[in-house]
Symmetry: C2
Subunit: 297 residues, 2 copies
Protein backbone atom coordinates (compact mmCIF):
# COMPACT_ATOMS: atom_id res chain seq x y z
CA UNK A 1 0.00 0.00 0.00
CA UNK A 2 1.38 3.38 -1.00
CA UNK A 3 0.45 5.60 1.86
CA UNK A 4 1.69 8.86 0.40
CA UNK A 5 1.53 10.17 -3.11
CA UNK A 6 4.16 12.84 -3.66
CA UNK A 7 3.08 14.17 -7.00
CA UNK A 8 5.63 16.91 -7.37
CA UNK A 9 8.78 14.92 -8.17
CA UNK A 10 7.00 12.51 -10.49
CA UNK A 11 7.82 12.62 -14.19
CA UNK A 12 4.34 13.60 -15.32
CA UNK A 13 3.66 17.30 -15.70
CA UNK A 14 1.51 18.58 -12.86
CA UNK A 15 -1.96 19.74 -13.87
CA UNK A 16 -1.58 22.54 -11.38
CA UNK A 17 1.84 24.16 -11.11
CA UNK A 18 3.49 24.12 -7.72
CA UNK A 19 2.99 27.58 -6.24
CA UNK A 20 6.23 29.56 -6.23
CA UNK A 21 7.59 31.36 -3.17
CA UNK A 22 5.80 34.68 -2.89
CA UNK A 23 2.55 33.30 -4.33
CA UNK A 24 -0.12 35.12 -2.31
CA UNK A 25 -2.11 31.90 -2.04
CA UNK A 26 0.53 30.61 0.37
CA UNK A 27 0.07 33.56 2.74
CA UNK A 28 -1.54 31.50 5.51
CA UNK A 29 0.24 28.20 4.96
CA UNK A 30 2.28 26.84 7.87
CA UNK A 31 4.49 23.76 7.98
CA UNK A 32 4.00 21.83 11.18
CA UNK A 33 7.44 20.52 12.00
CA UNK A 34 6.07 17.01 12.62
CA UNK A 35 5.42 16.70 8.88
CA UNK A 36 9.21 16.65 8.32
CA UNK A 37 9.98 14.77 11.50
CA UNK A 38 13.67 14.22 10.77
CA UNK A 39 14.48 17.92 10.47
CA UNK A 40 15.64 20.14 13.30
CA UNK A 41 14.38 23.69 13.75
CA UNK A 42 17.04 25.25 11.51
CA UNK A 43 16.56 22.73 8.68
CA UNK A 44 12.77 22.96 8.82
CA UNK A 45 13.01 26.75 8.82
CA UNK A 46 15.27 26.70 5.76
CA UNK A 47 12.81 24.38 4.04
CA UNK A 48 9.96 26.84 4.66
CA UNK A 49 12.03 29.69 3.24
CA UNK A 50 12.91 27.71 0.12
CA UNK A 51 9.23 26.95 -0.54
CA UNK A 52 7.68 30.26 0.38
CA UNK A 53 5.95 28.92 3.49
CA UNK A 54 5.64 31.83 5.88
CA UNK A 55 5.01 30.08 9.18
CA UNK A 56 6.11 27.03 11.10
CA UNK A 57 4.47 25.00 13.89
CA UNK A 58 7.25 23.88 16.24
CA UNK A 59 7.50 20.87 18.55
CA UNK A 60 9.02 21.03 21.99
CA UNK A 61 11.52 18.20 21.56
CA UNK A 62 13.45 19.67 18.58
CA UNK A 63 13.18 23.10 20.19
CA UNK A 64 14.73 21.67 23.37
CA UNK A 65 17.59 20.24 21.30
CA UNK A 66 18.88 23.75 20.64
CA UNK A 67 17.10 25.79 23.32
CA UNK A 68 13.99 27.93 22.91
CA UNK A 69 15.97 31.18 22.70
CA UNK A 70 18.10 29.98 19.84
CA UNK A 71 15.11 28.44 18.06
CA UNK A 72 13.26 31.74 18.35
CA UNK A 73 16.19 33.62 16.80
CA UNK A 74 16.51 31.17 13.91
CA UNK A 75 12.85 31.44 12.98
CA UNK A 76 12.70 35.21 13.48
CA UNK A 77 15.88 35.82 11.49
CA UNK A 78 14.34 33.82 8.63
CA UNK A 79 11.28 36.07 8.70
CA UNK A 80 8.89 33.27 9.67
CA UNK A 81 6.01 33.28 12.13
CA UNK A 82 5.70 30.52 14.74
CA UNK A 83 2.10 29.44 14.26
CA UNK A 84 1.99 27.17 17.32
CA UNK A 85 3.99 25.13 19.77
CA UNK A 86 3.10 21.46 20.13
CA UNK A 87 2.45 20.40 22.75
CA UNK A 88 1.39 20.59 26.35
CA UNK A 89 -1.38 18.66 28.01
CA UNK A 90 -1.47 15.10 29.38
CA UNK A 91 -3.41 16.41 32.34
CA UNK A 92 -5.38 13.30 33.35
CA UNK A 93 -3.09 11.75 35.99
CA UNK A 94 -5.12 10.73 39.03
CA UNK A 95 -2.27 10.86 41.59
CA UNK A 96 -0.85 13.99 43.21
CA UNK A 97 2.69 13.44 41.94
CA UNK A 98 1.50 12.91 38.38
CA UNK A 99 -0.71 15.97 38.55
CA UNK A 100 2.09 18.16 39.91
CA UNK A 101 4.54 16.93 37.28
CA UNK A 102 2.01 17.67 34.52
CA UNK A 103 1.40 21.19 35.80
CA UNK A 104 5.15 21.86 35.95
CA UNK A 105 5.68 20.53 32.47
CA UNK A 106 2.88 22.68 31.10
CA UNK A 107 4.32 25.74 32.83
CA UNK A 108 7.59 25.10 31.04
CA UNK A 109 5.70 24.73 27.76
CA UNK A 110 3.96 28.08 28.32
CA UNK A 111 7.35 29.72 28.89
CA UNK A 112 8.76 28.11 25.77
CA UNK A 113 5.80 29.31 23.69
CA UNK A 114 6.31 32.85 24.99
CA UNK A 115 10.03 32.70 24.22
CA UNK A 116 9.28 31.45 20.71
CA UNK A 117 6.87 34.32 20.14
CA UNK A 118 3.78 32.22 19.48
CA UNK A 119 0.50 32.84 21.26
CA UNK A 120 -0.71 29.25 20.74
CA UNK A 121 0.23 26.24 22.86
CA UNK A 122 -1.54 23.11 21.59
CA UNK A 123 -2.77 20.80 24.36
CA UNK A 124 -3.35 17.08 23.87
CA UNK A 125 -5.20 16.53 27.09
CA UNK A 126 -4.30 12.89 27.79
CA UNK A 127 -6.11 9.55 27.97
CA UNK A 128 -7.24 7.27 30.76
CA UNK A 129 -4.67 6.56 33.48
CA UNK A 130 -3.50 2.92 33.48
CA UNK A 131 -6.26 0.64 34.69
CA UNK A 132 -8.89 3.39 34.87
CA UNK A 133 -12.22 3.32 33.04
CA UNK A 134 -13.40 6.62 34.47
CA UNK A 135 -13.64 8.88 31.43
CA UNK A 136 -15.66 11.53 33.23
CA UNK A 137 -13.08 11.64 36.02
CA UNK A 138 -10.26 12.09 33.51
CA UNK A 139 -12.18 14.92 31.84
CA UNK A 140 -12.78 16.59 35.21
CA UNK A 141 -9.08 16.53 35.98
CA UNK A 142 -8.34 18.26 32.68
CA UNK A 143 -10.81 21.00 33.63
CA UNK A 144 -9.21 21.30 37.08
CA UNK A 145 -5.74 21.65 35.58
CA UNK A 146 -6.98 24.27 33.10
CA UNK A 147 -8.26 26.34 36.00
CA UNK A 148 -4.69 26.49 37.30
CA UNK A 149 -2.90 26.92 33.98
CA UNK A 150 -5.20 29.22 31.99
CA UNK A 151 -4.52 32.42 33.99
CA UNK A 152 -0.80 31.68 34.00
CA UNK A 153 -0.84 31.19 30.23
CA UNK A 154 -2.84 34.38 29.75
CA UNK A 155 -0.35 36.33 31.85
CA UNK A 156 2.42 35.06 29.56
CA UNK A 157 0.49 36.07 26.43
CA UNK A 158 -0.12 32.43 25.49
CA UNK A 159 -3.43 30.77 24.69
CA UNK A 160 -3.99 27.13 25.61
CA UNK A 161 -5.43 25.45 22.52
CA UNK A 162 -7.49 22.37 23.42
CA UNK A 163 -7.23 19.76 20.69
CA UNK A 164 -10.13 17.35 20.32
CA UNK A 165 -8.65 14.04 19.23
CA UNK A 166 -10.21 11.41 16.98
CA UNK A 167 -12.05 8.87 19.19
CA UNK A 168 -9.53 6.24 18.12
CA UNK A 169 -7.21 8.00 20.60
CA UNK A 170 -9.70 8.41 23.46
CA UNK A 171 -8.29 5.66 25.69
CA UNK A 172 -4.61 6.46 25.44
CA UNK A 173 -4.18 10.04 24.31
CA UNK A 174 -7.12 12.39 24.39
CA UNK A 175 -10.39 12.18 26.34
CA UNK A 176 -11.60 15.25 24.43
CA UNK A 177 -13.18 13.95 21.25
CA UNK A 178 -15.27 16.75 19.73
CA UNK A 179 -15.20 20.48 19.09
CA UNK A 180 -18.41 20.76 21.13
CA UNK A 181 -16.81 19.13 24.16
CA UNK A 182 -13.68 21.28 23.80
CA UNK A 183 -15.75 24.47 23.57
CA UNK A 184 -17.60 23.47 26.74
CA UNK A 185 -14.29 22.95 28.50
CA UNK A 186 -12.97 26.29 27.24
CA UNK A 187 -16.12 28.22 28.11
CA UNK A 188 -15.25 29.11 31.74
CA UNK A 189 -12.12 30.94 30.59
CA UNK A 190 -11.59 34.07 28.52
CA UNK A 191 -10.96 33.33 24.83
CA UNK A 192 -7.55 34.95 25.27
CA UNK A 193 -6.61 32.15 27.67
CA UNK A 194 -8.24 28.98 26.26
CA UNK A 195 -9.17 28.18 22.66
CA UNK A 196 -9.70 25.08 20.56
CA UNK A 197 -7.80 23.41 17.73
CA UNK A 198 -9.68 22.29 14.64
CA UNK A 199 -7.62 19.47 13.12
CA UNK A 200 -9.39 17.99 10.13
CA UNK A 201 -8.06 14.50 10.85
CA UNK A 202 -9.61 14.46 14.30
CA UNK A 203 -13.00 16.04 13.63
CA UNK A 204 -14.02 15.42 10.01
CA UNK A 205 -16.37 12.51 10.88
CA UNK A 206 -18.35 14.47 13.49
CA UNK A 207 -21.97 15.02 12.41
CA UNK A 208 -22.00 18.19 14.51
CA UNK A 209 -18.68 19.63 13.39
CA UNK A 210 -19.97 22.41 11.12
CA UNK A 211 -22.46 23.62 13.70
CA UNK A 212 -19.81 23.50 16.41
CA UNK A 213 -17.21 25.36 14.35
CA UNK A 214 -19.79 28.09 13.79
CA UNK A 215 -20.23 28.27 17.57
CA UNK A 216 -16.45 28.51 18.02
CA UNK A 217 -16.17 32.12 16.85
CA UNK A 218 -13.27 33.72 18.73
CA UNK A 219 -12.15 30.37 20.13
CA UNK A 220 -10.44 28.81 17.11
CA UNK A 221 -6.79 29.01 18.08
CA UNK A 222 -5.38 26.74 15.40
CA UNK A 223 -6.49 25.07 12.18
CA UNK A 224 -4.53 21.99 11.15
CA UNK A 225 -5.00 19.88 8.04
CA UNK A 226 -4.15 16.37 6.91
CA UNK A 227 -6.22 13.57 5.38
CA UNK A 228 -7.90 10.40 6.66
CA UNK A 229 -6.48 7.56 4.54
CA UNK A 230 -7.25 3.84 4.70
CA UNK A 231 -6.13 1.30 5.60
CA UNK A 232 -4.74 2.50 8.90
CA UNK A 233 -1.13 1.41 9.51
CA UNK A 234 -0.11 -0.88 12.38
CA UNK A 235 0.83 2.20 14.40
CA UNK A 236 -2.39 4.18 14.16
CA UNK A 237 -0.54 7.35 15.14
CA UNK A 238 1.16 7.34 11.76
CA UNK A 239 -1.89 6.97 9.52
CA UNK A 240 -2.32 10.57 8.40
CA UNK A 241 -2.25 11.39 4.74
CA UNK A 242 -1.45 14.25 2.41
CA UNK A 243 -4.50 16.37 1.62
CA UNK A 244 -6.29 14.87 -1.36
CA UNK A 245 -5.19 11.28 -0.77
CA UNK A 246 -8.14 10.40 1.48
CA UNK A 247 -11.72 11.08 2.47
CA UNK A 248 -11.82 14.55 4.02
CA UNK A 249 -13.62 17.53 2.47
CA UNK A 250 -11.02 20.21 3.27
CA UNK A 251 -12.71 23.07 1.47
CA UNK A 252 -15.88 22.62 3.49
CA UNK A 253 -14.02 22.58 6.80
CA UNK A 254 -11.74 25.47 5.81
CA UNK A 255 -14.79 27.45 4.77
CA UNK A 256 -16.44 26.78 8.13
CA UNK A 257 -13.35 27.87 10.04
CA UNK A 258 -13.08 31.00 7.87
CA UNK A 259 -16.76 31.77 8.45
CA UNK A 260 -16.15 31.50 12.20
CA UNK A 261 -13.71 34.38 11.86
CA UNK A 262 -10.43 32.49 11.96
CA UNK A 263 -7.76 34.38 10.02
CA UNK A 264 -4.65 32.65 11.37
CA UNK A 265 -2.23 30.21 9.84
CA UNK A 266 -3.27 26.87 8.39
CA UNK A 267 -0.84 24.19 9.53
CA UNK A 268 -0.16 21.03 7.57
CA UNK A 269 0.58 18.36 10.18
CA UNK A 270 1.14 14.85 8.80
CA UNK A 271 2.26 11.96 11.01
CA UNK A 272 3.26 9.38 8.40
CA UNK A 273 6.34 7.16 8.20
CA UNK A 274 6.46 7.36 4.40
CA UNK A 275 6.28 11.15 4.45
CA UNK A 276 9.00 11.23 7.10
CA UNK A 277 11.24 9.04 4.93
CA UNK A 278 10.67 11.11 1.78
CA UNK A 279 12.78 14.00 0.49
CA UNK A 280 11.67 17.03 2.57
CA UNK A 281 11.75 19.30 -0.47
CA UNK A 282 9.37 16.95 -2.29
CA UNK A 283 7.13 16.90 0.77
CA UNK A 284 7.11 20.70 1.02
CA UNK A 285 6.41 21.16 -2.68
CA UNK A 286 3.61 18.61 -2.64
CA UNK A 287 1.96 20.04 0.44
CA UNK A 288 2.11 23.59 -0.95
CA UNK A 289 0.49 22.36 -4.14
CA UNK A 290 -2.13 20.25 -2.36
CA UNK A 291 -2.85 23.12 0.00
CA UNK A 292 -3.78 25.25 -3.00
CA UNK A 293 -5.76 22.56 -4.84
CA UNK A 294 -7.47 20.84 -1.90
CA UNK A 295 -7.78 23.36 0.93
CA UNK A 296 -8.21 26.74 -0.75
CA UNK A 297 -11.05 27.55 -3.09
Amino acid sequence: VTRVDLDVPSGAPAAVPTPAPGDPRLARLSLNQKTVNRLGVAEATDLCVRHGIGAIGLWREPVADIGAGRAARIVRDAGLRVSSLCRGGFLTAADDAGRAAALDDNRRAIEEAATLGTDTLVLVVGGLPAGSRDLDGARRRVADALAVLAPEAGAAGVRLALEPMHPIFCADRGVLSTVEQSLAMAAPFPASQVGVVVDTYHVWWDPGVYHQIARARGRVASFQVCDWVLPLPADTLLGRGMMGDGHIDFRALRGAVDAAGYTGDIEVEIFNGDVWDADPDAVAATLARRYVTEVLD
Copy 2:
Protein backbone atom coordinates in the same frame (compact mmCIF):
# COMPACT_ATOMS: atom_id res chain seq x y z
CA VAL B 1 0.62 -9.00 22.12
CA THR B 2 -1.99 -11.22 23.71
CA ARG B 3 -5.24 -9.83 22.49
CA VAL B 4 -7.57 -12.12 24.38
CA ASP B 5 -7.33 -13.49 27.88
CA LEU B 6 -9.45 -16.60 28.24
CA ASP B 7 -9.40 -17.04 31.99
CA VAL B 8 -11.65 -20.06 32.22
CA PRO B 9 -9.39 -22.81 30.90
CA SER B 10 -6.30 -21.54 32.72
CA GLY B 11 -4.87 -23.61 35.58
CA ALA B 12 -5.46 -21.00 38.26
CA PRO B 13 -8.72 -21.21 40.19
CA ALA B 14 -11.11 -18.47 39.10
CA ALA B 15 -11.91 -15.87 41.75
CA VAL B 16 -15.49 -15.92 40.48
CA PRO B 17 -16.93 -19.28 39.45
CA THR B 18 -18.19 -19.59 35.92
CA PRO B 19 -21.97 -19.28 36.05
CA ALA B 20 -23.66 -22.64 35.45
CA PRO B 21 -26.47 -23.17 32.95
CA GLY B 22 -29.69 -22.09 34.61
CA ASP B 23 -27.99 -19.34 36.62
CA PRO B 24 -30.59 -16.55 36.62
CA ARG B 25 -27.83 -13.99 36.05
CA LEU B 26 -27.51 -15.33 32.50
CA ALA B 27 -31.17 -14.65 31.72
CA ARG B 28 -30.45 -11.80 29.27
CA LEU B 29 -27.13 -12.99 27.86
CA SER B 30 -26.96 -13.57 24.11
CA LEU B 31 -24.10 -14.95 22.06
CA ASN B 32 -23.61 -13.03 18.86
CA GLN B 33 -22.59 -15.62 16.33
CA LYS B 34 -19.68 -13.47 15.12
CA THR B 35 -17.94 -14.13 18.45
CA VAL B 36 -17.51 -17.77 17.40
CA ASN B 37 -17.01 -17.00 13.75
CA ARG B 38 -16.04 -20.55 12.69
CA LEU B 39 -19.29 -22.09 13.94
CA GLY B 40 -22.40 -22.63 11.85
CA VAL B 41 -25.88 -22.00 13.20
CA ALA B 42 -26.30 -25.52 14.60
CA GLU B 43 -22.90 -25.57 16.31
CA ALA B 44 -23.32 -22.11 17.79
CA THR B 45 -26.79 -23.05 19.01
CA ASP B 46 -25.43 -26.17 20.70
CA LEU B 47 -22.71 -24.08 22.32
CA CYS B 48 -25.34 -21.73 23.77
CA VAL B 49 -27.29 -24.67 25.15
CA ARG B 50 -24.19 -26.18 26.78
CA HIS B 51 -23.38 -22.89 28.53
CA GLY B 52 -26.87 -21.80 29.53
CA ILE B 53 -26.94 -18.88 27.09
CA GLY B 54 -30.59 -18.32 26.20
CA ALA B 55 -30.32 -16.24 23.05
CA ILE B 56 -28.26 -15.98 19.92
CA GLY B 57 -27.58 -13.13 17.49
CA LEU B 58 -27.36 -14.62 14.00
CA TRP B 59 -25.51 -13.46 10.88
CA ARG B 60 -26.96 -13.68 7.42
CA GLU B 61 -24.08 -15.57 5.79
CA PRO B 62 -24.16 -18.66 8.07
CA VAL B 63 -27.96 -18.52 8.01
CA ALA B 64 -27.86 -18.57 4.20
CA ASP B 65 -25.59 -21.62 4.32
CA ILE B 66 -28.50 -23.72 5.61
CA GLY B 67 -31.50 -21.55 4.76
CA ALA B 68 -33.44 -19.26 7.09
CA GLY B 69 -36.25 -21.78 7.63
CA ARG B 70 -33.93 -24.51 8.79
CA ALA B 71 -31.92 -22.08 10.93
CA ALA B 72 -35.15 -20.93 12.58
CA ARG B 73 -36.13 -24.53 13.40
CA ILE B 74 -32.70 -25.35 14.87
CA VAL B 75 -32.75 -22.37 17.18
CA ARG B 76 -36.40 -22.79 18.15
CA ASP B 77 -36.04 -26.52 18.80
CA ALA B 78 -33.13 -25.73 21.12
CA GLY B 79 -35.35 -23.34 23.07
CA LEU B 80 -33.28 -20.26 22.21
CA ARG B 81 -34.39 -16.74 21.28
CA VAL B 82 -32.91 -15.01 18.21
CA SER B 83 -31.89 -11.67 19.67
CA SER B 84 -31.04 -10.05 16.33
CA LEU B 85 -30.05 -10.63 12.74
CA CYS B 86 -26.85 -9.00 11.49
CA ARG B 87 -26.97 -7.26 9.14
CA GLY B 88 -28.61 -5.06 6.62
CA GLY B 89 -27.62 -1.58 5.62
CA PHE B 90 -24.92 -0.29 3.25
CA LEU B 91 -27.39 2.26 1.98
CA THR B 92 -25.04 5.02 0.81
CA ALA B 93 -24.55 4.15 -2.87
CA ALA B 94 -24.92 7.27 -5.01
CA ASP B 95 -25.92 5.54 -8.25
CA ASP B 96 -29.36 4.18 -9.10
CA ALA B 97 -28.22 0.59 -9.62
CA GLY B 98 -26.36 0.54 -6.31
CA ARG B 99 -29.35 2.03 -4.53
CA ALA B 100 -31.77 -0.49 -6.02
CA ALA B 101 -29.47 -3.41 -5.18
CA ALA B 102 -29.17 -2.21 -1.60
CA LEU B 103 -32.94 -1.89 -1.21
CA ASP B 104 -33.44 -5.40 -2.59
CA ASP B 105 -30.80 -6.84 -0.31
CA ASN B 106 -32.37 -5.18 2.71
CA ARG B 107 -35.79 -6.49 1.73
CA ARG B 108 -34.34 -10.00 1.74
CA ALA B 109 -32.78 -9.33 5.14
CA ILE B 110 -36.15 -8.20 6.53
CA GLU B 111 -37.74 -11.43 5.27
CA GLU B 112 -34.97 -13.50 6.79
CA ALA B 113 -35.37 -11.76 10.15
CA ALA B 114 -39.10 -12.44 10.10
CA THR B 115 -38.49 -16.09 9.22
CA LEU B 116 -35.98 -16.39 12.06
CA GLY B 117 -38.48 -14.93 14.50
CA THR B 118 -36.44 -11.93 15.55
CA ASP B 119 -37.85 -8.42 15.55
CA THR B 120 -34.42 -6.82 15.23
CA LEU B 121 -32.46 -6.34 12.00
CA VAL B 122 -29.17 -4.55 12.68
CA LEU B 123 -28.21 -2.00 10.01
CA VAL B 124 -24.65 -0.91 9.36
CA VAL B 125 -25.50 2.03 7.18
CA GLY B 126 -22.41 2.17 4.96
CA GLY B 127 -19.50 4.53 4.35
CA LEU B 128 -18.56 6.99 1.64
CA PRO B 129 -18.87 5.73 -1.94
CA ALA B 130 -15.50 5.38 -3.66
CA GLY B 131 -14.02 8.80 -4.37
CA SER B 132 -16.73 10.71 -2.53
CA ARG B 133 -16.08 13.13 0.32
CA ASP B 134 -19.72 14.07 0.73
CA LEU B 135 -20.60 12.80 4.20
CA ASP B 136 -23.84 14.74 4.39
CA GLY B 137 -24.92 13.33 1.05
CA ALA B 138 -24.21 9.79 2.21
CA ARG B 139 -26.23 10.39 5.36
CA ARG B 140 -29.14 11.80 3.34
CA ARG B 141 -29.20 8.70 1.17
CA VAL B 142 -29.45 6.53 4.29
CA ALA B 143 -32.45 8.57 5.42
CA ASP B 144 -34.03 8.27 1.97
CA ALA B 145 -33.60 4.49 1.99
CA LEU B 146 -35.07 4.24 5.49
CA ALA B 147 -38.18 6.03 4.28
CA VAL B 148 -38.67 3.17 1.82
CA LEU B 149 -37.66 0.29 4.05
CA ALA B 150 -39.07 1.24 7.47
CA PRO B 151 -42.76 0.70 6.64
CA GLU B 152 -41.94 -2.58 4.88
CA ALA B 153 -39.98 -3.75 7.93
CA GLY B 154 -42.79 -2.72 10.24
CA ALA B 155 -45.31 -4.65 8.15
CA ALA B 156 -43.11 -7.72 8.56
CA GLY B 157 -42.86 -7.25 12.33
CA VAL B 158 -39.21 -6.31 12.08
CA ARG B 159 -37.52 -3.24 13.49
CA LEU B 160 -34.57 -1.68 11.65
CA ALA B 161 -31.85 -1.12 14.26
CA LEU B 162 -29.49 1.69 13.23
CA GLU B 163 -26.00 1.01 14.53
CA PRO B 164 -23.79 4.01 15.17
CA MET B 165 -20.24 2.92 14.35
CA HIS B 166 -17.01 4.07 15.95
CA PRO B 167 -15.67 7.04 13.92
CA ILE B 168 -12.71 4.89 12.90
CA PHE B 169 -15.21 3.29 10.49
CA CYS B 170 -16.83 6.48 9.22
CA ALA B 171 -15.14 6.52 5.80
CA ASP B 172 -15.61 2.90 4.82
CA ARG B 173 -18.43 1.40 6.85
CA GLY B 174 -20.73 3.66 8.81
CA VAL B 175 -21.45 7.36 8.37
CA LEU B 176 -23.57 7.21 11.51
CA SER B 177 -21.17 7.80 14.41
CA THR B 178 -23.21 8.63 17.50
CA VAL B 179 -26.38 7.62 19.32
CA GLU B 180 -27.59 11.21 18.96
CA GLN B 181 -27.24 11.13 15.20
CA SER B 182 -28.92 7.72 15.01
CA LEU B 183 -31.85 8.90 17.13
CA ALA B 184 -32.28 11.90 14.84
CA MET B 185 -32.36 9.59 11.84
CA ALA B 186 -34.86 7.27 13.56
CA ALA B 187 -37.12 10.09 14.74
CA PRO B 188 -39.34 10.40 11.63
CA PHE B 189 -40.41 6.76 12.00
CA PRO B 190 -42.42 4.94 14.65
CA ALA B 191 -40.25 3.22 17.25
CA SER B 192 -41.76 -0.06 16.09
CA GLN B 193 -40.09 0.47 12.70
CA VAL B 194 -36.72 2.07 13.45
CA GLY B 195 -34.58 1.83 16.59
CA VAL B 196 -30.92 2.19 17.50
CA VAL B 197 -28.19 -0.21 18.55
CA VAL B 198 -26.03 0.64 21.52
CA ASP B 199 -22.74 -1.22 21.02
CA THR B 200 -20.27 -0.35 23.75
CA TYR B 201 -17.31 -0.64 21.36
CA HIS B 202 -18.71 2.00 19.05
CA VAL B 203 -20.04 4.56 21.52
CA TRP B 204 -18.07 4.35 24.77
CA TRP B 205 -15.85 7.37 23.96
CA ASP B 206 -18.78 9.72 23.22
CA PRO B 207 -19.01 12.56 25.76
CA GLY B 208 -22.76 12.70 25.12
CA VAL B 209 -23.49 8.98 25.25
CA TYR B 210 -25.19 8.82 28.66
CA HIS B 211 -27.43 11.76 27.88
CA GLN B 212 -28.29 10.32 24.49
CA ILE B 213 -29.06 6.84 25.84
CA ALA B 214 -31.45 8.47 28.31
CA ARG B 215 -33.15 10.16 25.33
CA ALA B 216 -33.36 6.81 23.53
CA ARG B 217 -36.22 5.44 25.67
CA GLY B 218 -38.28 3.13 23.49
CA ARG B 219 -35.72 3.26 20.69
CA VAL B 220 -33.01 0.93 22.01
CA ALA B 221 -33.42 -2.12 19.81
CA SER B 222 -30.21 -3.91 20.72
CA PHE B 223 -27.46 -3.69 23.32
CA GLN B 224 -24.12 -5.24 22.34
CA VAL B 225 -20.97 -5.49 24.42
CA CYS B 226 -17.26 -5.96 23.82
CA ASP B 227 -14.19 -4.06 24.97
CA TRP B 228 -11.86 -1.46 23.43
CA VAL B 229 -8.37 -2.93 23.68
CA LEU B 230 -5.05 -1.43 22.57
CA PRO B 231 -3.02 -1.65 20.45
CA LEU B 232 -5.39 -2.01 17.53
CA PRO B 233 -4.48 -4.88 15.18
CA ALA B 234 -3.47 -4.36 11.56
CA ASP B 235 -7.05 -5.13 10.55
CA THR B 236 -8.92 -2.66 12.73
CA LEU B 237 -12.13 -4.62 12.25
CA LEU B 238 -10.70 -7.37 14.45
CA GLY B 239 -9.60 -5.29 17.43
CA ARG B 240 -12.48 -5.99 19.78
CA GLY B 241 -11.75 -7.47 23.18
CA MET B 242 -13.40 -9.60 25.83
CA MET B 243 -15.18 -7.49 28.44
CA GLY B 244 -12.70 -6.59 31.16
CA ASP B 245 -9.59 -6.68 28.96
CA GLY B 246 -9.83 -3.04 27.92
CA HIS B 247 -10.99 0.45 28.74
CA ILE B 248 -14.80 0.41 28.69
CA ASP B 249 -16.98 0.93 31.76
CA PHE B 250 -19.65 -1.69 30.99
CA ARG B 251 -21.63 -1.35 34.18
CA ALA B 252 -22.16 2.35 33.57
CA LEU B 253 -23.36 1.83 30.01
CA ARG B 254 -25.51 -1.18 30.95
CA GLY B 255 -27.05 0.87 33.75
CA ALA B 256 -27.84 3.68 31.31
CA VAL B 257 -29.48 1.30 28.85
CA ASP B 258 -31.46 -0.31 31.68
CA ALA B 259 -32.56 3.11 32.92
CA ALA B 260 -33.78 3.92 29.40
CA GLY B 261 -36.17 0.99 29.72
CA TYR B 262 -34.33 -1.60 27.67
CA THR B 263 -35.16 -5.08 28.92
CA GLY B 264 -33.98 -7.12 25.95
CA ASP B 265 -31.04 -9.40 25.41
CA ILE B 266 -27.44 -8.32 25.89
CA GLU B 267 -25.34 -9.61 23.02
CA VAL B 268 -21.64 -10.31 23.29
CA GLU B 269 -20.18 -9.55 19.85
CA ILE B 270 -16.40 -9.87 19.57
CA PHE B 271 -14.58 -9.55 16.25
CA ASN B 272 -11.13 -10.87 17.16
CA GLY B 273 -8.88 -13.32 15.34
CA ASP B 274 -7.56 -14.82 18.57
CA VAL B 275 -11.06 -15.37 19.93
CA TRP B 276 -12.05 -16.96 16.62
CA ASP B 277 -9.08 -19.32 16.82
CA ALA B 278 -9.76 -20.31 20.44
CA ASP B 279 -11.79 -23.28 21.70
CA PRO B 280 -15.43 -22.11 21.44
CA ASP B 281 -16.32 -23.69 24.78
CA ALA B 282 -13.54 -21.70 26.45
CA VAL B 283 -14.80 -18.56 24.73
CA ALA B 284 -18.38 -19.20 25.84
CA ALA B 285 -17.38 -19.95 29.43
CA THR B 286 -15.17 -16.86 29.62
CA LEU B 287 -17.77 -14.58 28.16
CA ALA B 288 -20.46 -15.87 30.53
CA ARG B 289 -18.14 -15.25 33.46
CA ARG B 290 -17.03 -11.82 32.23
CA TYR B 291 -20.63 -10.90 31.53
CA VAL B 292 -21.43 -11.51 35.18
CA THR B 293 -18.33 -9.81 36.59
CA GLU B 294 -18.00 -6.88 34.18
CA VAL B 295 -21.45 -6.10 32.78
CA LEU B 296 -23.89 -6.96 35.55
CA ASP B 297 -23.75 -5.30 38.97
